[in-house]
Amino acid sequence: MSTDLRDLYQEVILDHSKRPRNFKPLPGANRSAEGYNPLCGDRETVYLTLEGDRVRDVAFQGSGCAISTASASMMTERVKGMTKKDAEALFERFRALITGAGTPGGGPDLEKLEVFSGVREYPVRIKCATLPWHTLKAALNGEGKTVSTELSEGPPAESGGA
């Protein structure tokens, strides 16, 4: 296996993609949102139990590639217990990490999420990694609509041609 592919598909990412954590419906969830990548057909739903401003519990379901599944899995582990504000600040840091933009100050550290740094070498895969986060953000803000990757950053994962 070429070494640069291992930068993208790190062991932690492969592990989370094969055995996603918090991959289940969440009985008693008071918020949910659906994320959709129309270019590859990936769909995932993020469920939240929000208590005041704090994420008391979070889970997700759906189908996606290894990057989006691992991203969703690790995201749910990381944001459980966080305030809405911290979770959103973490998303900004995560987005900066994988797009190669400068890391914004403030907010929680990325910690284990640093394993996604390899994504920046694969621009067409950025949307795979951010889809769960966009979906989380929509759920946090109580937006009932489906979030589409086609309204977010990065070049399209594939063109509309044949």
């Binding site: 296996m1 492969l14 590859c40 590639c65 990057i67 795979c128 509309g160 044949a162």
Partner: protein, 421 residues
């Protein structure tokens, strides 16, 4: 795994088809991608261009370029001559009766839109029906949806079976006195299914219904004779047949073209203009408003010459060999399912790998220098039918080899190594 990594099978010596010599005609095929030799298996999306095409376009711009059908000067005459010769080459290639039945368009998508917006708008009315199949590319769905919505007409869809073949008996049931047109692909871009166009045309014509065929995948792969097929409209793209992007052909029977209103208004499509009344030009110029893709048409003619020199029968035989070899080899991979197993099939191989997403497959293969397409291939209804979000698609062209099939199989082995262990 053992089956995926077994020793490669050498290509049989096939008389007359010198694939290595053909490969040398395509400069891009000698480049490396991520340090590996390029294995280009995305030909259903677009094909690479031989030097014969690239050189002709360059020479045309360097020596004979000017606008067409305009000036009395030498260059305009030369350019017009080259452009009209290209039309004649396209006519001969698909065996149309007359050159005026060949309308240059940007590609298949524009060809279908042209028919929907002219023939369709003139002939489809409230309560009428347009019949397509469940195999179609979005470009043979959406233009008809737009038309039907505007007119209050109904889009009817002939279903496919689990092998990815149009269910002809169901298609026939949809044909009625309400049907204004039947629009189907010759070869499916997502599954490779080759549709029985001659039979579909017979069925439709027995009800007096004209047929449009999306030939984008067929013209580069098999000999096409529009008069033998007796199709009313046939459209294809240059870029999928080793020609430049931005040029394609709409063939239509002259009788139909004459009765159709124009598509776009502008220069070249008129014979006289006053503020009171405009008289449209004769065929095919009535449908070619504005300065056309002149160099593209010249490049298309060069691609037609290139394909004709090899022979479409030889191209078809070569691709059939690649398809059967690739089918046999990848079928042996555990957990791999081929999507689209039509009896009559072109060299398009769509597949899924259990538990592994096509995007991950595509990324790993890319690092091996192998270009495949992953996604829904602009055919979401086909994906929905098979209840999958996406597939990985390897599509072959006239320059691909059995060795490249082996590289694909080896690449899939690497995918399994990473995601199955």
């Amino acid at each position: 795994m053992s089956t995926a990594t077994r020793p490669t099978t050498p290509a049989p010596a096939r008389t007359g088809y010198e694939v290595e010599r053909i490969r040398r005609n395509f400069p891009i095929l000698s480049r490396r991608v991520h340090g590996k030799p390029l294995v280009y298996l995305d030909n259903a999306a677009s094909t690479q261009k031989p030097s014969a095409v690239l050189d002709v376009v360059k020479t045309f711009y360097e020596n004979s370029y000017a606008n067409v059908h305009r000036g009395v000067h030498a260059l305009s005459v030369e350019a017009s001559d080259a452009y009209e010769k290209a039309r004649e080459r396209a006519r001969a290639f698909i065996n149309a009766a007359e050159a005026r039945e060949i309308v240059f368009v940007r590609g298949t998508t524009e060809g279908i839109n042209l028919v929907a917006q002219t023939y369709g708008r003139a002939n489809v009315h409230r309560g009428d029906e347009v019949v397509i199949s469940a195999l179609e590319h979005h470009s043979n769905i959406v233009p008809w949806q737009i038309l039907c919505e505007e007119k209050g007409a109904k889009l009817r869809v002939a279903p496919i079976d689990e092998r990815g073949q149009i269910r002809l008996e169901e298609l026939e049931k949809l044909l009625s006195e309400k049907t204004r047109i039947v629009a189907v692909s010759h070869i499916s871009n997502a599954l490779g299914t080759a549709n029985p166009i001659r039979r579909i045309v017979e069925m439709a014509h027995s009800h007096g219904i004209p047929v449009l065929v999306d030939g984008a995948q067929a013209v580069p792969r098999i000999p096409v004779d529009v008069r033998e097929l007796d199709v009313d409209f046939y459209t294809f793209s240059g870029h999928k047949m080793y020609a430049p992007t931005g040029v394609g052909v709409l063939y239509a029977k002259a009788k139909l073209l004459e009765a159709m209103p124009p598509y776009q208004g502008g220069g070249d499509m008129i014979s006289s203009v006053t503020f009171e009344k405009t008289t449209y030009n004769i065929l095919p110029f009535k449908f070619e408003a504005g300065t056309p893709n002149i160099a593209g048409a010249v490049g298309l003619a060069a691609a037609i010459d290139y394909l004709s020199a090899i022979g479409m029968d030889a191209v078809e035989a070569h691709e059939d060999d690649l398809l059967s070899y690739a089918t046999e080899r990848i079928s042996a991979i555990p957990g791999l399912t081929i999507i689209g197993t039509a009896e009559d099939k072109a060299a398009v191989l769509s597949f899924t790998l259990e538990g592994i997403h096509p995007h991950d497959i595509g990324t790993v293969l890319d690092r091996e220098g192998i270009a495949v397409r992953t996604g829904h291939h602009c055919a979401q209804p086909v994906m929905d039918f098979f209840k999958i979000p996406a597939t990985t698609r390897a599509s072959f062209g006239l320059y691909n080899t059995r060795g490249e099939v082996d590289a694909l199989v080896k690449g899939i082995g690497k995918v399994l190594e990473m995601f199955r262990t």
